[in-house]
């Protein structure tokens, strides 16, 4: 499955970057600064979605004592943290020319920062506890408590008056974005999904090799 995700991810990244940088026209209000969104939005989406998956796998691992499920949660945490960090940094690079500031304690940005802290907390907690079973259980509790933050991030622009703009891509409603801008964005989101699947599976393989007794794996080969 890894090559089946990695190769299309590379192709989609190339197509998305070409469409986003060369084909999509400049925005009439934001000019070319909006092109940051072709990396910011996929990163923000992946940060949230990977956390939901992390909580799911951590809960399954904890409830059914499924080691691979807990390892999957650990594997998801690094990529999720990277995407959340990227969404904050690229959001800052977009906010400076459009809002006039690098950072505001806005509901959306603050709740995303909390998501990054949750990821860091999960990773730190797992690496701080030596016994893998206890580490998985402690991580699962944190992941399940923290998953409450994901809907808060998503609905923050509706629940509070925020500087951050509202949802542009809507599932139930009409999307407020020109097709020439929407297509590269969707291509980049698909590329990030495939990239995440490939990277998470490679890390899962590493974790299995590290956690299982080496002699047993060599014998199984």
């Amino acid at each position: 499955l890894i090559p089946w995700c990695a190769v299309p991810a590379g192709i989609l990244f190339a197509v998305g970057l070409y469409l986003g940088l060369f084909v999509a026209p400049a925005d009439f209000q934001q000019g070319d600064a909006y092109r940051v969104l072709f990396v910011h939005v996929p990163a923000a989406w992946m940060g949230m979605l990977l956390y939901i998956l992390l909580a799911f796998y951590a809960a399954v691992g904890c409830a059914f004592n499924a080691r691979v499920s807990s390892m999957m949660a650990s594997s998801l945490s690094i990529t999720g943290a990277m995407f959340t960090g990227l969404s904050l940094v690229t959001g800052s690079l977009w906010g400076r020319p459009t809002w006039g500031t690098w950072w505001v304690w806005d509901a959306r940005t603050t709740s995303t920062l909390i998501l990054l802290f949750l990821y860091i907390g999960f990773i730190s907690l797992q690496s701080a506890i030596e016994d893998p079973k206890r580490a998985d259980r402690a991580g699962a509790v944190l992941a399940l408590v923290g998953v409450v933050n994901v809907p808060i991030i998503y609905f923050s622009v509706q629940w509070w008056s925020t500087l951050h703009q509202g949802a542009t891509i809507r599932i139930a409603d009409e999307t407020r974005m020109a097709a020439s801008m929407l297509v590269p964005l969707l291509v980049m989101i698909a590329a990030c999904w495939l990239y995440s699947i490939a990277v998470v599976l490679v890390r899962l393989r590493c974790l299995i090799l590290e956690r299982e007794p080496p002699g047993a794996i060599a014998a199984a080969k």
Partner: protein, 58 residues
């Protein structure tokens, strides 16, 4: 559009290219580190004797 104009990005070049370069570095770095980790673990497995004392050949 000319190349200097493309790189200038209407005056937003620093922000746009900064975001793209950081994303590329983060994702590329993650892939490189993972591949190094995977090859190190695979080497460990190849060099580990099977239970019972038989050596595994690479």
């Amino acid at each position: 559009m000319s190349w200097p104009g493309f790189l200038f990005m209407g005056g937003y070049g620093f922000y746009v290219w900064g975001a793209y370069v950081l994303t590329l570095m983060a994702m590329g770095g993650e892939v490189l580190l993972l591949l190094r980790r995977l090859s190190a673990r695979s080497c460990d497995i190849r060099n580990t004797p099977i239970r019972g004392g038989t050596e595994v050949r690479a």
